[in-house]
């Protein structure tokens, strides 16, 4: 017998990405902001490495087969509110990757037990028509108010999303320059609840509007966040669906990055940011590789970036204190994903409630809604008064269902409601009964959603959100609460809100930075601008025309 003499190391079969490498920019986290920053900087000619912990890029831009096998769902972001204004969508031709947005006129409906419904539509007068069934006065108020607010958004709030934040005093001085600005200033000091109750008289109208305004975690009683009332209401009337699922947006940006020479390392967790002489100079990966760069951008939440990756011992005292005092979101979301034999058909006789992008149900009035939110903040859920919103995704998107012909008629939907991360009794224990309560409630408002219509379910609790996306700590979809001291130039703190940090070489630019989360596309754009300036590269892009006009009107002279 011949003797076994040699063994070729597997490296001779599979050449691998090197253990050590040098870059201009390392970006931690391939969520929307990381992708946007990487796309701009790679196209600017910088050598960019984008590092992602999950096996798939996109962060909350995730369209995955969580109703396995065969049914895909948008497990996180689905309602895209800033498509009209995001510079990234104007600066890149993402359409060539097949990125298509759908903006239905029927944006949201609210369904009540007695079969009544209220619509929130893209076209202002369609909403007013619907409100007029409840209150003609409210309909007229809505019509007039939204017209003005639309101008506020277009002239001020939308462009300001993509311009570095200013101190409150600076904002006040800037806004006083125009009538539109002064109107916005009047809103700022009020709470969402004040604004809605001052303007509108009908309880159901109030409930519908307040739900849309506060859906993303705005505290209805918090003062000083009034500008978000106008912003959210306008944007909730202009939500877009990404055909093929939200992941397509991530995919399209990923292709831009790679085409510009950037490298994406997924399935890679950063172990620590390498500090040398007080400067951030690189990252060590869990798998043992090291990457070094001139600039490191973290898109993660403040505690992960500064405490876990940089290390508390490397932080200046003021930064350490501010990071430790960071408050995560008061509310998270609980989502029940469902495959059903039929699309949910809601109580109202007309089909609009069933064909809305989003259908709100469970609340009969504003007080009930406020009580539910109070419960959530207190760590409780009373399923008898709980409400939320649902979307039948497959109604909008045929690509989500990939099953044999005998089941191809089935539909994918979800119901989502505000929920505490620290639920009394725990999600593991309470989850099943909450799921049961949701299904009962759904069947009450959409009578065909009874047991025999339901094929498969999958509930994603706030705890699941954190497991899937660990830097959405405590299920914080926005990486941190929206309260005045964590907004604007205080997000995440005054030292870091301009995207540079007190640590040379380290930048932040995720949802915990100005202007915040929910796929606004702001932080990623702003941090790209900052890093491009600091590294002295020419920006190949220009501000959008809305931004230019805003700068000229409010910030110059």
């Amino acid at each position: 017998m011949m003797e076994f003499k040699g063994y070729q190391h597997p490296q001779s079969y599979f050449p691998e990405f090197p253990p050590e490498s040098e870059w201009d920019v390392i970006i931690i986290g391939a969520g929307p902001n990381g992708l946007i920053a990487a796309a701009y900087l790679a196209k600017a000619g910088l050598k960019v490495a984008l590092i992602e912990r999950r096996y798939e890029i996109g962060g909350g831009l995730a369209t995955e087969e969580i109703l396995f096998p065969g049914y895909y769902s948008n497990i996180h972001a689905i309602y895209h509110m800033m498509v009209d204004y995001m510079p990234v969508l104007q600066d890149f031709d993402l359409g060539r990757h097949g990125l298509v947005w759908i903006k239905p006129n029927l944006q949201a409906s609210m369904v009540f037990e007695n079969g009544e419904s209220l619509l929130l539509t893209r076209m202002i007068e369609d909403t007013a028509d619907s409100i007029s069934k409840f209150s003609i006065k409210d309909a007229q108020t809505f019509s007039r108010t939204m017209g003005r607010w639309r101008t506020i958004i277009r002239e001020i709030l939308a462009p300001a999303t993509f311009i570095p934040p200013m101190l409150p005093i600076e904002i006040t001085m800037a806004l006083q320059k125009t009538d539109v600005g002064q109107e916005l200033l009047e809103l700022v000091e009020q709470s969402p609840l004040d604004i809605v109750t001052n303007l509108f008289e009908n309880d159901k109208v109030r409930a519908m509007l307040l739900y849309n305004i506060c859906m993303w975690g705005l505290d209805p009683r918090e003062t000083g966040v009034g500008l978000f009332v106008a912003l959210y209401l306008d944007r909730m009337m202009n939500k877009c669906y990404c055909q093929g699922g939200s992941h397509k947006m991530a995919n399209s940006l990923g292709r831009e990055i790679v085409q510009a020479g950037g490298v994406i390392l997924d399935s890679s967790q950063v172990n620590n940011i390498i500090m040398e002489g007080g400067k951030a100079v690189g990252v060590d990966l869990w798998e043992g590789r090291t990457l070094r760069a001139k600039a490191i951008i973290s898109t993660l939440d403040p505690q992960t970036t500064f405490v876990d990756l940089v290390g508390g011992e490397n932080l200046p005292v003021s930064l350490k204190e501010s990071v430790e005092g960071w408050k995560y979101d008061k509310w998270s979301l609980n989502t029940l994903h469902v495959v059903s034999e039929e699309q949910p058909k809601y109580l109202p006789k007309d089909q609009w409630a069933s064909e809305s992008f989003m259908t709100i149900f469970g609340f009969e009035g504003m007080d009930q809604m406020l009580e539910h939110w109070d419960n959530v903040v207190a760590g409780k859920l009373d399923t008898s008064i709980m409400g939320g919103h649902a979307t039948c995704e497959s109604f909008w998107d045929t690509h989500l269902v990939r099953v044999p012909p005998d089941r191809a008629h089935r539909q994918v939907s979800f119901f989502q409601h505000h929920a505490p991360y620290n639920l009394e009794g725990g999600w593991e224990q309470k989850g099943p009964e909450i799921e049961e309560a949701i299904l009962q409630k759904w069947a009450k408002y959409a009578p065909n959603m009874k047991k025999e219509n339901i094929v498969m379910t999958n509930q994603e609790t706030p705890v699941d959100i954190e497991i899937r996306f660990p830097n959405m700590r405590y299920g914080s979809i926005k990486h941190g609460d929206y309260k005045p001291i964590q907004l604007g130039c205080f997000r995440p703190n005054q030292e870091c809100s301009g995207n540079a940090t007190p640590i040379p070489g380290l930048y932040t630019g995720g949802a915990s930075n100005y202007p915040g989360g929910c796929v606004l596309g702001g932080s990623g754009y702003l941090v790209a601008n900052k890093v491009a300036e600091d590294l002295g590269v020419t920006k190949w892009w220009k501000p959008t025309k809305e931004m230019e006009k805003y700068t000229k009107t409010y910030l110059e002279g």
Binding site: M2, E16, F17, Y55, E65, G98, V258, D266, R402, I467
Partner: protein, 575 residues
């Protein structure tokens, strides 16, 4: 919205082979468009996280592709390709690993290991392991006028050169078992190796494909892989590198863009028409040089091209291609405590659960399973303790790449079992997937058979099962018609110069100019994510003047250029 779009090449399907082809052609400087109908490319190379923190592999698991020229030519490392090595596997065999029988795990005798090492080219000086693999998979079939015999078939040339004692004319008639009989004693070990061949495309008992069957196994054992589950990010991580290579070289790859028709005009493929719900305004796109179908061969001809361009005789041949054999029922188990081997299945070096291959015992069991799956084609009636299957365990994955980050839970799987192909199941296509109760029945069957080697696969421990029947698979991934993992099987009539049929064996389509095939079901050597179809097809595209690769290209040493065409061997010109 509807401006005319033109590319040099349009590829239908962003599975492994479509994407490899795109990467090669983009690297040649061509403008390439790839159209994929699913929300994510990758085809068989996929990972799913069905509940937060738990990842499963519904399809490809092992990286069989280690000997591919693609690693050098496409430089996937530049696009983030990484492996996750496990030093335990730094010998051709883990000597403590072996076939599991009803009695326990068998040790493979050193003599048998050396027998296996001999026939796979691991012995002697120099080793010819990689050459043998490349000759088997990474070389295009010869032009039709070349006789295929012991002197021309590439792997026979390798034996002749490196190990003349193995080079016999009879080898071309052997089954894998015949070949193994001469070098290996243990029946269980032979059945074990043959079973891996069966799930990889070429059956252990098929005459005439002994070497391809052996090589299907050799390519997924060390040193061709370092570990059964090896790429970082699993097989989808491997796909990402391939996909990013294509994109970085300028290819456009679009998802959610199903192709409805390959447009044929004047006997030439000129473009494609997308289905109405494609995520793109412009539904008709043109190709200047070629349309390459990375879709399954049956829909490619029966639907995308259609009878209006093809004659009944040809269509019948396509309809008749066998889908049998590669259909697997895939099961993942989520448990509260880690699975534990029964005492007799523990391996000395690692007692924690690590999967394995069960009921690899003797020819009687082998035939019992095969006869049920291939012969009678009715539902499985094998007692669970005699069912043959393989399984990956959680500890097969690197510690830095945990598959379960959900505290207090463990995920193990897939457990894959060959089952009747729906299209041939006399009990009907829905026979293993007829509603929740039926699915539950088969899931429980998998639990029972797993319980043969595991002591705690009980209902208290198992909290969730994800399973996928062949019937489900073929609609979530339409490249897997019949749920078949290798499209059509590699039997004598569907391998090498016969794959998928003689007239289509060189990836061209007679009478339709500018149309080429690159799906595993339509092209030598078939599946396994080898980057082989793309590499082999390159030879043909160079011959036809479609592309001209740069200095990074090298052809297969066993390649024979077709007369009158441009040779794929650089500098040789037209022959």
């Amino acid at each position: 919205m509807a401006k005319e779009e033109r590319y040099d090449v349009i590829i239908v399907g962003a599975g492994h082979n479509g994407t490899t082809t795109a990467a090669y052609l983009a690297k040649c400087g061509l403008s390439v468009l790839v159209l994929e109908e699913r929300p994510e490319g990758g085809g068989a190379q996929e990972t799913v996280e069905p509940i937060a923190g738990v990842r499963i592999q519904p399809h490809a698991i092992g990286n069989y592709g280690g000997s591919a020229p693609g690693w050098e030519q496409l430089e996937l490392w530049k696009y983030g390709f990484r492996m996750d090595y496990d030093p335990r596997y730094e010998v051709p065999f883990d000597t403590e690993r072996g076939p599991m029988t009803r009695e326990g795990t068998l040790q493979v005798a050193e003599e048998d290991q050396m027998g296996w090492a001999k026939i796979t080219g691991l012995l002697g000086e120099p080793m010819f392991h990689k050459e043998l693999l490349r000759a088997t998979f990474w070389t295009p079939p010869h032009p039709s006028y070349i006789e295929n015999d012991e002197n021309t078939i590439p792997y026979m040339q390798v034996f002749k050169q490196y190990s003349p004692d193995l080079w016999t004319k009879e080898l071309l008639e052997y089954t894998m078992f015949d070949f193994l009989d001469q070098h290996i004693k243990s029946e269980a070990f032979k059945v074990f190796q043959a079973y891996i061949a069966n799930v990889s495309g070429a059956f252990g008992h098929f005459p005439g494909v002994a070497v391809p069957a052996v090589e299907c196994v050799a390519t997924v054992l060390p040193p061709a892989v370092a570990k059964p589950v090896a790429s970082r990010g699993n097989m989808h991580g491997y796909y990402h590198a391939l996909f990013r290579c294509a994109v970085a070289n300028g290819a456009t790859i679009r998802t959610c863009c199903p192709v409805e028709e390959i447009i044929i005009e004047h006997g030439r493929a000129v473009g494609v028409r997308l289905r109405d719900d494609a995520t793109l305004g412009n539904k008709t796109i043109y190709a200047n040089k070629a349309v390459i179908s990375g879709a399954h061969i049956k829909p490619t001809f029966l639907k995308l091209i259609g009878p209006k361009h093809l004659d009944a005789g040809f269509l019948q041949k396509i309809k008749d291609l066998s889908l049998k054999g590669g259909s697997l029922y895939m099961t993942h188990f989520l448990t509260k405590e880690q699975l534990r081997y029964r005492e007799q299945y523990k391996w000395p070096s690692h007692e924690s659960f690590n999967g394995g291959f069960y009921c690899m015992e003797n020819m009687e069991i082998y035939w019992k399973n095969l006869e049920c799956v291939l012969g009678r084609q009715s539902n499985l009636d094998i007692p669970p303790d005699e069912a043959m299957w393989g399984m990956v365990g959680q500890t097969n994955y690197a510690e830095s790449q945990p598959q379960c980050t959900r505290e207090g839970y463990y995920v193990n799987g897939p457990l894959w079992m060959m089952v009747p192909t729906p299209e041939y199941n006399v009990d009907g296509t829905l026979a293993m997937d007829n509603g929740p109760a039926d699915k539950e029945k088969w899931d429980q069957y998998m639990v029972k058979t797993l319980s043969c080697i595991v002591e705690n696969a009980d209902s208290d421990n198992i909290v969730k099962i994800w399973s996928d029947s062949p019937w489900g698979q073929e609609f979530r991934n339409t490249g897997m018609l019949g749920g078949s993992w290798y499209g059509t099987r590699c039997d004598r009539d569907e391998w090498w110069n016969e794959r998928p049929t003689q007239e289509l064996a060189r990836y061209r389509v007679p009478d339709i100019e500018g149309l080429y095939l690159c799906h595993q079901s339509a092209a030598h050597p078939g599946g396994l994510c080898l980057m082989a179809v793309g590499y082999n097809l390159m030879h043909i595209l160079i011959e036809d003047g479609i592309c001209e690769p740069g200095p990074w290209w090298y052809e297969s040493p066993w390649y024979i250029p077709e007369e009158g065409k441009i040779s794929a061997k650089p500098g040789q010109g037209r022959v």
